[in-house]
Amino acid sequence: MLAFVLRRLGQSAFVIVAMAALVFLSVYAIGNPIDILLAPDADQQERAAAIARLGLDRPLWQQFLTFLVNLAQGDLGKSFVFGSDAVSLILARLPATLELALVALVLAIVAGIPLGILAGLRSDGWIGRGVMTGSIVGFSLPNFWLGIMMILLFAVELKWLPAGGRGATGTFLGLQFSLLDPAGWPNLLMPALTLAIYKVSLVIRLAYAGTREAMLQDYVRFARAKGLSPARIIGVHVLKNILIPIVTVLGLELGSMIAFAVVTETVFAWPGVGKLLIDSIARLDRPVIVAYLIIVVGMFTLINLAVDILYSILDPRVRLADGGH
């Protein structure tokens, strides 16, 4: 077990260094780094100072080391637009994105699992075919267009929900959360639904396949023979078995939801890191782009690591198989 964790830790460290090298090469080595790191209106004196500070006259590997040292200290430069530290700028916006992603994840589970089980139980009937075709539609819906159409319907035509922004938030541990203030829920609903739709389809597919497989198993037949009610067979025995793949996939999908929040946040003007990234790309605010990239890559690597370790605890076969090659 320890050997497995250590090996995975080593792989994760390698990924982070590899990504840092890529970011370094793409941002610092392509084009003139001074243009990238200095505001366009900087004068000659500031340029000279920056060149000295960055040590651009030194060989590339030395510059990379400096970059790594700064990175380890959490120093990725100051935003051109906000004038404040890029890393703390990202961290300040992170709770809004995480909240959005988590609410969407819960929506996906709550909507997807019952629908998928229902479709699996009635796979030959119109319900099953309807749900499965619906899930393909869910896969195919362009996310941003769905968001725009929801704004059009619920905000512009029906005037039930606000069109964008975060609205009221409650404070917990010094961080702002919409869930804590019921006045903020309407603002959260549409972005979370939009972000969830794709994952709902995914959960439906997993639950459908799992249910169809589980219903043919001996333990289900045995439970039936024992005279258990269908509700108990499905709610306890089948559900437990189909949850394993769903939990694994959703753990990995949390990262992709954070990435996809870029789109949802842009449509609904949700003040998270995704919106910040798009704004920074539009304004060429490169320190913020670099900071976003490093932080999000770090988060992904951690999530992947956590899922792998959890999975190896839950299922010893993974550990053994990984040791095999």
Binding site: S140, P142, F144, I151
Partner: protein
Amino acid sequence: MAGSLERGAGAAEPVPAVESPFRRFAADYSANGIALAALLTVVVLALLAILAPWIAPQNPYDLTQISIFDNMLSPSERSLEGKLFLLGTDDQGRDMLSAMIYGLKLSLFVGAASTAIALAVGVSLGVVAAYFGGLIDSVIMRLVDLQLSFPAILIALILLALLGKGVDKVILALTLVQWAYYARTVRGNALVERRREYIEAAHCLALPRRRIIFRHLLPNCMAPLIVVATVQVAHAISLEATLSFLGVGVPITEPSLGLLIANGYKYILSGKYWVSFFPGLLLLATILSINLVGDHLRDLLNPRLKR
């Protein structure tokens, strides 16, 4: 277009005197009504895109055909000169229907081109990794793992933020995020195929390695790739639209469906729905029909479900 519809249905008729594999596959495929309709939709959309210059009521890139006085006309409204705009006009006075047909052309082109290039790159690397094994395999597959552990949208977004806008750059970015899927799929297959007798026979004939890999091993690993590639075209089209919506995709001079939607986003709050609604509907129809075809192909080509 009616001609192509009839031809598609004719091939489906299950009365073959000689049962060729293709005919049987066509008959199997057509047994599902939804899948057949989806395939026909894909064919119609592709024809629409190819024939865009002849079908579209106006050339949306030709400034002499566009009048700014016709801007933001609602669907079925007539301009001052009495010209009819079936789906309305955008803020430049462009006919939405024409802009959509040209946008569809660009979206399909980007999706198909990036998938084709990624397929070639990914398949070559995957089959080479499986054939040689060892260090080459490790290096290629670690790259695949690295690539697949990050969402495609994030990688493409960052690449384009660094590279800038442009159709060629979008294709490059989409290629870079797609190749790993093919490499992994083909490698899994090739690992099995590599141990088959015909590869051993080819070795005994002392055929050159390149010939063995690309003429013997590769063609036998292609079947599952058809499904992956079909779904990936839809994925690439969707991704391109998303990137263009975010402002890092195709340039404003060559609007794809995604950019048309982004263009209409500004007018949503004033209730002018048509600039976003119709291109989105076309985009949805395109992606959905390709996905339905892919879904049905997966069922048909899955050996475990073979009758």
